[in-house]
Structures are given as structure tokens and as C-alpha cells.
Symmetry: D2
Subunit: 102 residues, 4 copies
């Protein structure tokens, strides 16, 4: 079943601006062919299982070392719901629907 994943990667000690290094991580998401969404604070993607989610997170994390980083802090948050099948857009839609009733 689909898991929805929030990925946040922070290279430590590589300057104040991070986008040059972080682009390598996003490139890995593209290579793996998963649906993803870049936000101002993290990248959200969808995977077929927790195993796949961690495999992709690992590839993204490693890409920063290949690009020269010496220390990387990576946070992977997984929302794994098994009572119903749900995709990224379903979560946002549910919230928007609920917002109309508040």
C-alpha cells in the first residue's frame, strides 16, 4: 500500500545556501520515477511501501555525499495508513473539504 513520505535533508557546514546541494536529492526522486512535491520546507513523495520509501531516501541522502558534503542530517517522516488506500492529493483534498465545515 502507498505510503506518503516527507523528506528533509540538511547538509551541515556547507555554507548558508543549500539549494545547490539539495538539487541532487530532488534529482534522485526524479530518477526513481515517484510522484513528488517540492515545498518551501521539505519534499513530499509517495512510495509503494516503506521499504521503497527508505530506499529512495537513502539514494537522496547519499547523493549529497557524492556532491561533496561531509555531514548530512536527513529526516524521513512516513505516514503509513493501512485501513484505506490514500494518495498525496487525497490528504490535501480531505483537509480542504473539512475546512469548509469549520
Amino acid at each position: 500500500m502507498t505510503v506518503i513520505v516527507e523528506l528533509s535533508i540538511v547538509p551541515i557546514g556547507e555554507g548558508v545556501s543549500l539549494s545547490g546541494l539539495l538539487a541532487h536529492a530532488v534529482k534522485e526522486l526524479q530518477r526513481h520515477g515517484v510522484g513528488y512535491e517540492v515545498t518551501p520546507m521539505c519534499t513530499v513523495f509517495e512510495a509503494e511501501s516503506l521499504k521503497e520509501a527508505f530506499k529512495i531516501a537513502e539514494a537522496a541522502h547519499e547523493s549529497l555525499f557524492k556532491a561533496g558534503a561531509k555531514r548530512v542530517l536527513t529526516t524521513v517522516k512516513v505516514d503509513d495508513r493501512r485501513d484505506v488506500e490514500r494518495h498525496m492529493e487525497d490528504k490535501v483534498r480531505s483537509l480542504r473539504e473539512a475546512l469548509k465545515k469549520v
Copy 2:
């Protein structure tokens, strides 16, 4: 200076589906008039200072208790950069630009 904030609120023990409760938190962001973006895993908003960011996070957090929650786990991540003024869209744009060069 602008701070960019990721907010994630999880009511504990209120059922598997959370959007009904989380809508109260998003409503608070609207009431405070800040720019925000709902993502499948968190909500990102922009505030004028750390103090304002925490004030808004507090209002969002409290709204779930008012709606009946007994336990709430709230995560606030603040990106505070003071060498340059930057907004939510700037971070996404920088990453997109960097992605073209990888």
C-alpha cells in the same frame, strides 16, 4: 525579518482520520492572515518574526483542544535566515533553478 515555518499537528487518540480536527488549525492560519501552503504532510507558512510564528503555532495547537482533543503533538520547524530576506516562493524557486544545473 521573515521566517518560514513548517507546522505539523497530530491529535493523539482521536481516530484514524485527522482532517476534521486539523481543519481548525488551518482556520487559525487564515484568521491570522499569513500566507500558507497546505501540503500532504504539513502546512508551511510565513511569519514576520519567530515570536509571531510561535504565537500562530500556539493558536493552531490550542484550536484542537477547543475542538475536543485530549492530547496533541505539535511540531514547529522554523527556518530563520538573516543574511538575506527570503520568502516561501524564493526557496522553491532557488531549488528549481539549481535543479536545472544538476
Copy 3:
């Protein structure tokens, strides 16, 4: 009622080793007189309210800028449970008790 708080502060672009800067943040916890615990990945402390928790987190965050940081990423996670009064040691004790039964 007591809230339990996880604080994680990451200065960006200040070298690979962070303890020199992070010490300023821990110093703020001491100044505020709260009970805290340093772990290998974060610092956990206890506050009397969410408002106090955020006030202390703000002081800790600001201390890094005073020490010269240009960009700081601070994550504050608050566990706020209002059905029972609970302290830091209660959470660890509950888990240890539960572990005996697994």
C-alpha cells in the same frame, strides 16, 4: 499543565562541528531553570505551558544568532497531554513498564 518539549537546533553554514554553538542554547535552558535532558540528537525539557515552552525555545534559538550564526533551523516538538498531568520521567517509566509485558 506541564508540556514536554523536544528542541533541536541546527545552525546552517557554520562548520561541520556544532557543539560550540549549541552550548549557547543549552545555557538558555539553564538560565530559565527548567528541567532538561541532553540526548545525542536533541534536548528534551519540560515547561509549565506551551507559551513558556515557546518562550524558552525562542531564547535558545536567538542565542545562536548572538553567537554569530547567520541561519538557524530550529525544531520544537511539543507533547501536550491534558487528560493527566505527566512529567518527563513518567513517559520513560511508562515505556519501561510496558516493555516488561511485551
Copy 4:
């Protein structure tokens, strides 16, 4: 090289008290024979590689579904530093040393 890992697991919709379910996750850390530390907000452990870290996090996450959970939110934060070999106790010691100089 050693990676230091923060693990936080939250079962959604299984009541206000979580320790009974979370004990299954800690049991998995014991089964894998890694050094770990339970804190009031998370569990920190040490693994030989990112791959091993994610394997253990996956086992811990799955243990909650085996125990009956329907939705689980798991956060894995990895501190991966490759310029020097460092263990959990080294990070706490560095911070304590730095604290003496502030």
C-alpha cells in the same frame, strides 16, 4: 561508518496512551542488538550504516501494525557524519565540554 538515529513512532487513533504499543518498537531495537537510549520524546540508537538504520526503523514501524495499529506516523532522523567516527556518547560529551566554555 556509524550513523546516529532518532526514532519517533506515533500510532494514530489507538487511544491517548501510547506506551503499550511503543514497547513493541523498542523490543525491535533490542532484538537487533543496537545501542539505544529511550528519552521522554524519542528513542536514539546507533547503526553501522544508513541501510541498517532504515532496516531497524522499518522493523520497529512494522511491529506496531503487528500489534494492531491501523495508521502509524514514523519519523527517522539520521545524523551521518563522515569526516570523523563518532558515537552517541561523543555527541553528548562534546556538548558538555562546550558548555563549560560558554
